[in-house]
Symmetry: C2
Amino acid sequence: MDNHPLFKKFVAFTAAVHQITNDITKDVKPETLTPVQYKILEYIAVSQPVTLSEISDCMHMSMPNTSRELRKLTEKELLVKVTDPADRRKQGITLSPEGQAMIDEVFRGAAQRVGERIEHLTAEQQQEIERALDLLQEKIFYV
Amino acid sequence: MDNHPLFKKFVAFTAAVHQITNDITKDVKPETLTPVQYKILEYIAVSQPVTLSEISDCMHMSMPNTSRELRKLTEKELLVKVTDPADRRKQGITLSPEGQAMIDEVFRGAAQRVGERIEHLTAEQQQEIERALDLLQEKIFYV
DNA sequence: TGTTTTTGTTATCAAAAGACAACTAAAGGA
DNA sequence: TCCTTTAGTTGTCTTTTGATAACAAAAACA
């Protein structure tokens, strides 16, 4: 597999995705957040509600460190924790209205940049891209 | 564009790519490198030869910090700097044999994991994936 | 009931990473 | 030639991040 033709493409592709998404969100990220805090906020945004353990697992962070960063985000009033009535050890974490507004703003900026990259394409080409995204997510980048 | 159908897919897709590549390289990364040092080594691997300025630009790091990390990687004998004879301010940075061996090892591990994700697919499906990677890289994730 | 497991918190220390000032050396112009 | 720009270095300080130990409370279980 090492010299499997797909693998070289895979490496180049993922490198490109990382670089482009980095560039796209680079200067729309709120400067009041550290990189890790931003990552956490983004993760909560697409997966809410989540528990602390889930964040810890998915982001490969220890529970103590996750707990600390969540506390900081809570102090900034960007998220809210709701104790699960069925299991009072767990807490469902979601974005506060302020946190949601912040993420919406970031996504708006990112959407703008993505739009610039595809607006010159025909509707048909855009559909092709949509199908390609679906295909890859289903066959390779599934969780 | 904010609620452009493609954008939602884009967000979900890039999130998935980040998570999967993270998981795939997670425990094949050499523990003698810090995360930033690994990222730099990986960047050099796919772009060599590069200059310090290019690394600084692409990775959004200041020149002093980039210089420091490159020094550490050089001390670990993982890369070599060759002064450009045409412009002696510049230095072409490449992986040393040891550095190349380390990256090859990481890529071998990653290739293994990717292989597991696609080996059950038919040759036709694999070609479809290849085409999808090409398409997206050409139309969206171009540098 | 007592014990263990799960879920999370607090505190502390060390390492990694970022920011910035001051500097050198080569190249490019005027 | 002198001045400016480009490419990179060194040193220092601060912030961020990671690691670990010790803890508490709820749930699960024997």
